[in-house]
C-alpha cells in the first residue's frame, strides 16, 4: 500500500466535520505525495523523508517536563498561544484581552457554524493543487484563528508556539493558522515551531493570512531546532489595497540525532490583489550536518503599482543542502510593478550544496523586476584583512558569517524577535561581543 493510500485510509469520519474536508481528501487522493519528478519538488524528495507508515490519528498532548522547562526559559513574552502536538493548551497560553482582537482555536470553530470560517477558511489555500495543503485541509484538528477588527492596532506581538512532544515516531501532525487583519488594522505575529522531544517529529503546517486595505501584518516564522524534524510549512497571504505584509522565515538546524531525515520545506506566497500593496519576504537559513532546507517563495502581482522585496540568505555547513526557489509573477494588468529579489548562499564546507532557481514570469511591460543570485564562499580579501589584524582564521570566518547572516536578521520587523535572533546568531557562531 502506498504512502498516500495509507493516509487516505485514515480519514476519520467523526473528525471530518468542518469546511472543505471531503473535497480536500478527494484532491489529495488524486495528487498523492509528490516525488522529485514534480517540478516544485525537484530538489526535495519528500517521499523518501517521511515515515513509511504515517499516522494521522490523535496523539497525546500531555505537558512533559521538557515543555515546562522550555516555557519557563522563554523570554517573558507578552502574549502567547501554545499548542502541544497540534492541540491548543489554554492553561499555558496568555491571550490578549482587548477590543477588536479575537482569538479562537480552530477545533472549537469547526464544531459550530462560523461566519469567520465561511468567509475566510480555505479561501487562499489552493488545496486542489497543493499536495500538502490538501492533506492538511482534510486532516487538521486544531490551530489558531486570529481576527483583528477594523482599525485595531495590536501593539504587542503575539507568539503562536507549536511544541512537538512526539511520543510516537509515526505521527504526522497537521496544524493550521487563519489570520485576518481587517482594514486599517495592524498585527505582529511569530509562529514558532519546536521539537520538545528527543525523537524525530513530522508535521505539516498551513497558514492563511488576509491583509485588508491599509492593514499591516508582520509575520516571523521561527524554525530554530529543526534537525530532528520533517516539517512542511505553507503560508499563503493575500494583500489588499495599500496593505503591507512581511514574512521572515528563520530556519536553524540543531544537532542531529542521526535520523538522516531532517527536512524543512517552506512555501511562502504573497498575492497582491489591491493597488499599492507591498510584500516583504525575507529569510535566513543555517544548515548543518545533513539538514535539508528548502524555501519556495512566490510573489504574485495581480494589480498595478505593487511593490515587493525578497532577501534570502543561507549558510550551509557540513553536509547540509539548501534549496531556493523564488518566483515573481507579474500579471498582464500589473503595470508599474516594482519587484526585487536577492538570494545569497554561503557554502562553508565542500560537502554542502545548494540548488537555486530564481524565476521571473512577467506579462506586463511597464515594470521593474530584477533578481540576483550569488553562491560562493567568504571573500578571501576580507578574511586576509581580519587575519592581518591578529584575528584567528576561525574567528574571522565567524565574524564574516555573522555579518553575512545579520543582513537578513535586520529585516525582521518584530523588535523583540530581531533582538532575540541577533543573540541567537551570535550564540550559533560562538561570538561574544
Amino acid at each position: 500500500m502506498s504512502l498516500a493510500e495509507n493516509i487516505v485510509k485514515q480519514f476519520d469520519g467523526t473528525a471530518a466535520t468542518g469546511a472543505h474536508r471531503h473535497e480536500a481528501l478527494e484532491a489529495f487522493r488524486q495528487l498523492g505525495i509528490p516525488t522529485s519528478r514534480h517540478e516544485e519538488w525537484k530538489y526535495t524528495n519528500i517521499k523518501t523523508k517521511l515515515s513509511e507508515s504515517l499516522s494521522l490519528g490523535e496523539v497525546s498532548s500531555e505537558v512533559n517536563a521538557a515543555v515546562k522547562n522550555y516555557i519557563a526559559s522563554l523570554p517573558p513574552y507578552a502574549f502567547r498561544i501554545i499548542f502541544l502536538n497540534g492541540v491548543f493548551h489554554p492553561e499555558l497560553s496568555i491571550v490578549p484581552d482587548m477590543k477588536g482582537f479575537s482569538f479562537y482555536n480552530l477545533h472549537d470553530l469547526f464544531s459550530a457554524p462560523s461566519t469567520l470560517l465561511d468567509k475566510y477558511y480555505g479561501r487562499l489555500m489552493n488545496y486542489r493543487q497543493e499536495h500538502f495543503a490538501a492533506l492538511n485541509t482534510a486532516f487538521v484538528r486544531d490551530g489558531a484563528c486570529i481576527h483583528v477588527a477594523k482599525n485595531t492596532i495590536v501593539n504587542d506581538p503575539i507568539y503562536i508556539q507549536y511544541f512537538f512532544t512526539a511520543s510516537e515516531a509515526q505521527a504526522f501532525t497537521q496544524t493550521r493558522n487563519l489570520i485576518v487583519v481587517e482594514e486599517g488594522g495592524s498585527l505582529q505575529l511569530a509562529e514558532d515551531f519546536r521539537n520538545a522531544s528527543n525523537i524525530p517529529v513530522q508535521y505539516n503546517h498551513v497558514s492563511e493570512m488576509f491583509v485588508g486595505p491599509n492593514a499591516n501584518l508582520d509575520v516571523v516564522k521561527l524554525q530554530l531546532e529543526v534537525s530532528n524534524a520533517v516539517g512542511i510549512h505553507t503560508l499563503e497571504a493575500q494583500v489588499e489595497r495599500d496593505g503591507a505584509f512581511s514574512a521572515a522565515t528563520i530556519t536553524f538546524s540543531a544537532p542531529d540525532t542521526g535520523t538522516g531525515r531532517s527536512v524543512i520545506r517552506n512555501n511562502v506566497s504573497a498575492r497582491l490583489i489591491g493597488e499599492n500593496a507591498h510584500a516583504d519576504l525575507n529569510g535566513l537559513y543555517f544548515g548543518k550536518e545533513d539538514a535539508h532546507i528548502d524555501n519556495h517563495i512566490l510573489v504574485d502581482h495581480q494589480v498595478p503599482n505593487g511593490t515587493s522585496h525578497q532577501l534570502y540568505k543561507g549558510v550551509l555547513d557540513q553536509e547540509a543542502t539548501g534549496v531556493f526557489n523564488g518566483k515573481i509573477f507579474v500579471q498582464p494588468d500589473a503595470q508599474k510593478t516594482n519587484a526585487f529579489q536577492s538570494s545569497k548562499a554561503l557554502l562553508l564546507s565542500n560537502s554542502a550544496s545548494v540548488n537555486s532557481k530564481p524565476q521571473l514570469e512577467i506579462f506586463a511591460d511597464d515594470v521593474k523586476c530584477s533578481h540576483g543570485v550569488a553562491i560562493g564562499q567568504l571573500d578571501e580579501q576580507a578574511l586576509f584583512y581580519l587575519e592581518s589584524r591578529g584575528i584567528t582564521k576561525p574567528e574571522a570566518v565567524q565574524l564574516l558569517t555573522y555579518a553575512f547572516a545579520h543582513e537578513a536578521v535586520e529585516r525582521i520587523k518584530i523588535k523583540p524577535v530581531r533582538q532575540f535572533m541577533c543573540d541567537r546568531l551570535k550564540e550559533e557562531l560562538k561570538l561574544n561581543f
Binding site: N350, S356, L360, V367, G376
Partner: protein
C-alpha cells in the same frame, strides 16, 4: 506616445521578406516515419552498416520516449506520421564550380542577399550550402585541404572518414538524449562535418546556410565539429526559410568537441519563418546543441541571434570537462506577434578551474512569449569553478511576456556563481533624452535596442554582426514605444 505607437505598428507590420519557394524537382521518401523510412534514408545516403545500426538504435529509443512538455511553450501536437523525412534533388550531377549549380538555387541565394561569388571573394568564407537535405556545393574545399581541415557534409564524412565519425558521433548528444535528439539521430539527412587537425588555426570562417524548402519537409541536420589539440575554428550558421502555412518541424543536433587548448566559436543567426501576424504557420525549431570541452584549457563559445521560428526551443550547452576549460553563451532572442521562445543554456562544470559566462538578452513584442531557461551546475569535482550569468528582458507592449527560469546547482564550496536578471521596458527618460537631442522616436528606439544587444553582437564575426543588426531592425524596428 501616439507617434511611437504608429511607428510600432508600421514596424510590426513588416512582412517576412524571405518568403518564397524554389521550384525544384524533388525526390522524397514516403510520408511518415517507420523503420523503413530510416532504412530508406540510410540506403539513399549509401551508408555503411554501422551507421544504419546506429540510426535504428536511435529510432527504437525514440519509440519508447515521450514528447517533453516541460517547456514554457504551447503548440498543437505534432503528427510525426505526416512529415516527409527525406527530400533530395532528383537530378544529381557532379558540381565542380559555382556555374554548375542549379540556377534556381543560385537565384534563391541571390534573393537572400548572399551572393556566393561575393562572399567567396570578399569575405573569404567557405560555404557549405544545404538546400533541404542535400549538400549542394562546397567551396574553398581545396584551400582548406592544404591545411588538413576537413569540411564536408556529414554523409560524405560517414563514407570518407568513418573512423572520425564513429569515434565522435553521439558522444556529446547520445541517441537517447532527448526526444528530438533521438528523432534526429534516426532520420538525420545531412549537415556539416568539420575536423580541424592539431595546431591548425582554420584560415577562414566556415559557414553553412540551411534552408527548408520542400513543403511538409522536416529538416533534420546533424553537425559535428571536432577541434583537435591546439586548433581554432569559427563556424557560422545562418538560416532563412520560405513562407508556409503549415507548421514545419526542424530538429537539428549540433555536437562540438574541443581537445586540449582548442577553441570553437559557433555563431548562429536564425531567421526562419515565424508565422503570420495571427500566429498561423511558422517553423518549430527544436534543436539540441551541445559542446564538450574535453581537453584542458579548451574553449567553446556559442553566440546566437534568434529572431525567427514560431517556436524556438534550444539550449546550446557546454560540458566543461577539461581543467581550465571555458564555456561562453551569448544570446539575443527576439519574439514578435505570436512567437514563442524557450531558450537558454546549460553550463556543466566538471573540471577544475573551469569558467563560464552567460549573457542572454530577450526582447518580446506583440503577443509573444520569451523565456530564458538556463542551468549552471557545479559538480563536486569542479574546484574553483566560476560562473557569471546575466539575463535581461525587454518588453515591448503589454500583451507579451518575459520569463526567466535559471537553475543553479552548486555542489562545491570553492565555486563562485553569480546570476542577475532584470526585466523592464525602454525607459521613457531614455527616449525623451534622445528626442530632446533631435533623434526621432524610431531612431532612438533602434539605437537603444542596438545598444542593449551590443554585448552579444560584438561576439559575432564581422559579416554576421551586420546581418544580425539588419535582422533585428527588420523584426523589431520601431516596434518599441
Amino acid at each position: 506616445m501616439s507617434d511611437n505607437d504608429k511607428i510600432i505598428d508600421e514596424v510590426v507590420a513588416n512582412d517576412y521578406k524571405y518568403g518564397f519557394t524554389t521550384p525544384i524537382e524533388q525526390e522524397m521518401a514516403p510520408i511518415g516515419l517507420s523503420e523503413d523510412t530510416v532504412r530508406y534514408i540510410s540506403a539513399k545516403k549509401q551508408e555503411p552498416q554501422w551507421m544504419l545500426d546506429w540510426r535504428l538504435k536511435a529510432y527504437r529509443a525514440w519509440l519508447q520516449m515521450e514528447q517533453p512538455d516541460w517547456q514554457n511553450v504551447h503548440f498543437a501536437p505534432i503528427d510525426f506520421q505526416s512529415i516527409y523525412y527525406y527530400a533530395a534533388q532528383k537530378k544529381k550531377k557532379e558540381i565542380k564550380s559555382l556555374e554548375d549549380v542549379d540556377p534556381e538555387i543560385r537565384a534563391t541565394y541571390d534573393k537572400l542577399g548572399i551572393p556566393i561569388q561575393e562572399q567567396k571573394l570578399l569575405a573569404g568564407v567557405a560555404v557549405d550550402y544545404v538546400m533541404d537535405s542535400e549538400s549542394v556545393i562546397t567551396t574553398f574545399r581545396e584551400s582548406l585541404k592544404e591545411k588538413g581541415v576537413i569540411f564536408c557534409s556529414i554523409s560524405e564524412a560517414i563514407r570518407e572518414y568513418p573512423e572520425l565519425v564513429q569515434q565522435y558521433l553521439g558522444t556529446v548528444v547520445p541517441q537517447r538524449d532527448n526526444y528530438y535528439a533521438a528523432l534526429n539521430s534516426a532520420v538525420f539527412s545531412d549537415g556539416s562535418f568539420v575536423y580541424i587537425p592539431k595546431g591548425v588555426r582554420c584560415p577562414m570562417e566556415l559557414s553553412t546556410y540551411f534552408r527548408i524548402n520542400a513543403e511538409n519537409t522536416g529538416q533534420f541536420e546533424r553537425t559535428l565539429i571536432i577541434a583537435d589539440e591546439g586548433s581554432y575554428v569559427s563556424y557560422l550558421e545562418g538560416c532563412t526559410a520560405p513562407m508556409r502555412d503549415e507548421n514545419q518541424l526542424h530538429a537539428a543536433v549540433v555536437e562540438l568537441i574541443t581537445l586540449d587548448h582548442a577553441e570553437i566559436k559557433y555563431s548562429t543567426v536564425q531567421n526562419w519563418y515565424p508565422g503570420d501576424k495571427e500566429g498561423k504557420g511558422g517553423i518549430y525549431n527544436f534543436v539540441t546543441k551541445r559542446g564538450l570541452c574535453k581537453g584542458a584549457h579548451s574553449k567553446i563559445s556559442w553566440t546566437q541571434v534568434e529572431t525567427g521560428s514560431a517556436i524556438t526551443w534550444k539550449y546550446p550547452s557546454c560540458i566543461l570537462k577539461g581543467d581550465y576549460s571555458i564555456g561562453e553563451f551569448y544570446s539575443v532572442a527576439v519574439t514578435n506577434n505570436y512567437q514563442q521562445a524557450d531558450t537558454g543554456t546549460k553550463m556543466m562544470h566538471i573540471g577544475k578551474n573551469t569558467r563560464s559566462r552567460i549573457v542572454s538578452k530577450g526582447i518580446s513584442a506583440g503577443r509573444s512569449q520569451n523565456s530564458y531557461r538556463g542551468q549552471v551546475q557545479v559538480q563536486k569535482t569542479a574546484d574553483n569553478a566560476y560562473n557569471f550569468s546575466q539575463c535581461d528582458s525587454l518588453l515591448i507592449g503589454d500583451k507579451c511576456g518575459a520569463h526567466t527560469f535559471p537553475y543553479l546547482e552548486i555542489k562545491n564550496n570553492t565555486g563562485k556563481v553569480e546570476h542577475e536578471a532584470t526585466t523592464s521596458k525602454i525607459g521613457e527618460d531614455l527616449l525623451f533624452y534622445c528626442n530632446q537631442r533631435g533623434l526621432t522616436s524610431e531612431e532612438a528606439v533602434s539605437m537603444i535596442i542596438n545598444g542593449y544587444c551590443k554585448e552579444v553582437f560584438q561576439h559575432l564575426p564581422m559579416e554576421f554582426m551586420v546581418e544580425a543588426q539588419k535582422l533585428l531592425s527588420i523584426s523589431l524596428e520601431g516596434s518599441v514605444g
